[in-house]
């Protein structure tokens, strides 16, 4: 129906977007895989990070990529504190409570943003915003290409941390057996907060890569939450590789869906996949069925 | 007449054969027990009988009807009810309301169910606590509640999973006549029990499960003297050692 070159460009676009989606989902995978928390505030946290990157550019002219060393640690701290101070206290050990608390947090964050920044959609302009790169017959926006590479790099770092560091081992221990880990002397509350922090830090990185090619407004988080969850569920809860693959897949689905069905209706494909996965294959592509 | 017939059922989880080729028949009006060391598969067997799990092979016939793989609530409608090893009260409700849920199987009207619940509570000595929240009961109380709730469904066969677990000796003494009373009232009872005193006291027939397989059956005294059973509980070679030590003391 569409000729091959358009399809090719669409797929490439989808892959680049998908890589950023994957980065967003990676943080969520970590949080869910370890804490078994459905973090409804994930999208709103991304929005916070995006605004951070935006204002750094607008107020002090800091290029988003150069803002990484600021935004990532800041988001880490944000996530750490959020988990330690609010979410942990509210859980009382029940899933439902965490669900509600993170929902509440997302509402507060989104509407505070609405309050302070109004509902205007904002984007930034940099020297390279409009530059494109030729790959085969397709023209890909440079920021998107950078985002793609950046997402892969961050994912690799995350995987390395989980594999090779003491923290990574502690996290995996807590994920498997919380009480046993505590008995081994691991500070479980700290590990939980670290996970949340790292997950949020991933969002910080994602925001730096995302903003040049995208935009920000207070409601932007909503769109990302469901997409992120779709990816996490599709990839298999707790599987990083799954989140990566899932992210790329979803990016491509969205892109091709948009091609055939138009911008807004194309999004439906994602949610339909989400519902289908939840119903038919809840363990996702890489997860393990209990 | 056999109320429940279990025919060669097996169930595996991945590589683990939880129940392997088990067959047994529960006569109507009897009080029988299923014993065996931890992890033998007793609760799994209950789950298979009551419909919470589907057997991989085999057949289960209840009151002449094939109930293999039938959903638990449908089995309850037929008269097969089970309790749980770890008590599961409806924590946000009172004792009366808890039992009423069971009674509703037979009584559609709220008022009728509530009075039926009261009657069952009286039988099991729970009437003092009728309006207490179920979450406030002691372990013994919760066990009684679990029993009461199941009893309110007016079952033909009651599968009791370790109804005496967690009770102190006094409470066990108080529970024994209650269980015996069930059979006197016409309910067939099959117990999973670890408290040997109860098994000896109550059961007319005992099945022994070890590592998923039925290794012995008979009267309580037959079964406890069976060397295979001793081995299953106390380890390989124990039967011989016990025999030897007895000979030494007699010498």
């Amino acid at each position: 129906m569409f000729d091959l070159s358009i399809l090719f460009a669409s797929v490439l676009n989808g892959i680049t977007t998908g890589a950023v989606y994957a980065l967003i989902a990676l943080g969520l995978t970590l949080i869910y895989g370890v804490l078994h928390i459905i973090n409804f505030a994930h999208g709103a946290s991304l929005m916070v990070a995006l605004y951070g990157v935006y204002f750094l550019k607008e107020k002090i002219g800091l290029d988003p990529y150069l803002a990484l060393p600021i935004v990532v640690p800041a988001m880490f701290a944000f996530g750490y504190v959020l988990q330690r101070v609010i979410i942990n206290r509210a859980s009382h050990g029940k899933d439902e409570n965490i669900l509600l608390v993170t929902l509440g947090i997302s509402i507060v964050l989104e509407n505070l943003a609405l309050l302070f920044f109004k509902s205007d959609t904002r984007n930034i302009e940099t020297a390279y915003t409009l530059t494109t790169v030729n790959i085969g017959t397709a023209m890909i926006a440079l920021p998107k290409l950078v985002a793609f590479i950046g997402a892969l790099v961050v994912s690799a770092i995350l995987l390395a941390v989980m594999r090779f560091t003491f923290l990574g081992r502690a996290i995996r221990a807590v994920a498997k057996e919380k009480h046993g880990a505590r008995l081994m002397g691991i500070d479980v509350d700290h590990v939980y907060a670290m996970c949340f922090g790292i997950g949020s830090a991933c969002l910080g990185a994602a925001a730096c890569f995302l903003l040049p090619a995208y935009y920000v407004n207070p409601m932007v988080g909503n769109g990302f939450v469901l997409v992120a969850f779709t990816i996490v569920v599709l990839g298999g809860m707790g599987s990083f590789v799954g989140a990566l693959v899932g992210g790329l897949l979803i990016g491509v689905v969205e892109s091709i869906g948009g091609l055939y069905l138009g911008e807004s209706l194309g999004q439906v494909g994602i949610f339909v996949i989400f519902i289908a996965i939840l119903l038919l294959r809840p363990q996702g592509l890489f997860g393990v069925r209990t | 007449m056999n109320l429940l017939e279990v025919k060669n059922i097996s169930r595996a989880f991945g590589g683990l054969r939880a129940v392997e080729d088990v067959s047994l028949n529960v006569p109507v009006g009897s009080l029988t027990a299923l014993i065996g060391p931890n992890g033998a598969g007793k609760t799994t067997l209950f789950a298979l009988m009551s419909g919470f799990l589907r057997p991989d092979v085999g057949q289960i016939v209840f009151d002449g009807i094939d109930i293999t793989g039938r959903a638990p609530h449908l089995n309850a409608l037929l008269g097969l009810t089970r309790t749980f090893q770890i008590v599961q009260p409806f924590a946000s409700q009172t004792v009366r309301e808890n039992i009423a849920v069971g009674a509703h199987l037979k009584f559609a009207h709220r008022d009728e169910a509530l009075s039926a619940a009261e009657a069952v509570a009286e039988r099991l000595d729970l009437h003092v606590q009728l309006d207490k929240p179920a979450a406030d009961l002691t372990v013994a109380g919760r066990k009684r509640l679990e029993l009461a709730r199941a009893l309110a469904t007016q079952p033909k066969l009651l599968l009791l999973d370790e109804v005496l677990a967690g009770l102190n000796p006094q409470e066990i003494q108080e529970m024994l006549p209650v269980v015996r009373g069930l059979v006197d009232d016409g309910v067939t009872v099959l117990l999973i029990e670890h408290v040997m005193q109860a098994v000896m006291n109550l059961a007319q027939h005992v099945w022994v499960l070890a590592q998923g397989q039925l290794i012995a059956q008979g009267t309580p005294s037959e079964v406890t003297q069976n060397p295979q059973v001793v081995e299953a509980y106390l380890g390989h070679g124990t039967a011989a050692r016990l025999l030897k030590s007895q000979q030494v003391t007699h010498a």
């Binding site: 078994h36 459905i38 509210a90 009382h92 029940k94 899933d95 409570n97 509600l100 608390v101 509440g104 947090i105 509402i107 507060v108 989104e110 509407n111 609405l114 309050l115 109004k118 509902s119 469901l226 779709t230 569920v233 807004s264 209706l265 999004q267 439906v268 949610f271 519902i275 939840l278 119903l279 809840p282 363990q283 997860g287 393990v288 209990t290 | 009551s50 919470f52 589907r54 793989g69 039938r70 959903a71 638990p72 609530h73 449908l74 009810t81 749980f84 599961q88 409806f90 924590a91 946000s92 409700q93 309301e97 849920v101 509703h104 009207h109 709220r110 169910a113 929240p133 709730r149 199941a150």
Partner: protein, 325 residues
């Protein structure tokens, strides 16, 4: 019975308010407060009594709203008939979503996510399809008369929504004193124990979704009659979903009056905030969000709630697809 007499008292009391005052401000307040009560009560039936937390209840709201408008504008139906059809359609949507979700054993967070996903799907479809007016939405032409369910004074709307609230209250009271309600709460408290004593969790949860959906749909239909306009984000956006659930949770889930108390409290809070801070966009929701977080942290039972001792263990791995016998 105690419940029904208190409901009757409430209805009489509130119903008399329009006789004592002509003030548009007061009547508007009462009307919107009752509207919030209706939404919270609808959510409470599935969430509070059924223990299934829906994060996308706007799904039913939007369905009701759109059907109400479309039946009148596209089919020329009388609004009172349209109201019935709106409730029927919302119930049907509830049936479908419930059947799918519960057939596949969705619970807890997964159920919440799926309802959110469905709401989003409906929103996107409404946004893209012409007969729902696409992004522009649909308008209800102004024609005030009783038969047309449009009233010159707010009093008419107050009585209309009061009627719906009374319906919701009576439904809730019925839940508290019926076998279905006992079964529903049993499933909420412990699904396996309920199954063992003859309760079919699937049908029970399904019908709860249907009832909850129908009532929520009536809220949507009411909204459209009052504001005479609906668009995809008003209909299916998160705002309404949140309003419904926060009201029920704050007031106390699983009770008769909890949602009323909660919705009223939030409404008053929202009004007070508006008076203090002016018409700042989003300030209401900030308050709702904070209240939600605080209530969950310090008063999880809500203001009037029951003890929801959920004995469930936190999910270690997805327990979505349970063993099906």
């Amino acid at each position: 019975m105690k419940d029904f007499s208190s409901i009757a008292g409430f209805v009489l009391l509130v119903g008399c308010i329009p006789f004592f005052t002509d003030s548009g401000v007061v009547l508007n307040f009462v009307m919107m407060a009752l509207y919030a009560c209706l939404l919270a009560q609808a959510w409470n039936i599935l969430g509070g009594f059924g223990g299934q937390f829906s994060f996308g209840h706007a799904l039913f709201f939007g369905t009701g709203a759109y059907v109400q408008v479309m039946a009148q504008v596209h089919l020329g139906w009388n609004p009172w008939i349209a109201l019935l059809s709106a409730m029927v359609m919302s119930a049907a949507v509830g049936f479908s979503v419930g059947a799918l979700s519960f057939r596949y054993g969705l619970k807890g967070s997964y159920f919440a996510l799926v309802t959110l996903a469905f709401a989003e799907v409906f929103r996107i479809v409404a946004l893209s399809v012409t007969f729902t007016g696409a992004g522009v939405g649909l308008m209800l032409p102004l024609r005030e008369s009783f038969t047309n369910m449009q009233f010159t004074s707010r009093a008419g709307y107050v009585w209309l929504v009061l009627g719906l609230v009374a319906l919701a209250l009576c439904t809730t009271a019925w839940l508290r004193h019926s076998r279905f309600g006992a079964y529903l709460q049993a499933v909420r408290d412990n699904e396996d124990a309920a199954r063992a004593i003859g309760v079919n969790p699937f049908t029970v949860k399904l019908w709860a979704t249907v009832i909850s959906g129908a009532l929520m749909g009536s809220g949507g239909a009411f909204y459209v009659q009052v504001f005479q306009y609906i668009d995809p984000s008003l209909a299916f956006g998160p705002h309404t979903s949140v309003e419904a659930l926060v009201g029920a949770i704050v007031g106390g889930m699983g009770t008769l009056w909890g949602p009323v108390v909660g919705a009223l409290t939030l409404h008053v809070l929202a009004d007070v905030t508006r008076n203090l801070f002016g018409q700042l966009p989003g300030i209401n929701m900030v308050v709702y969000g904070c209240v939600l977080v605080l209530i969950v942290m310090f008063m999880p039972r809500g203001i009037a709630g029951i003890r929801l001792h959920l004995f469930k263990q936190p999910v270690k791995t997805p327990s979505v697809g349970k063993e099906r016998a």
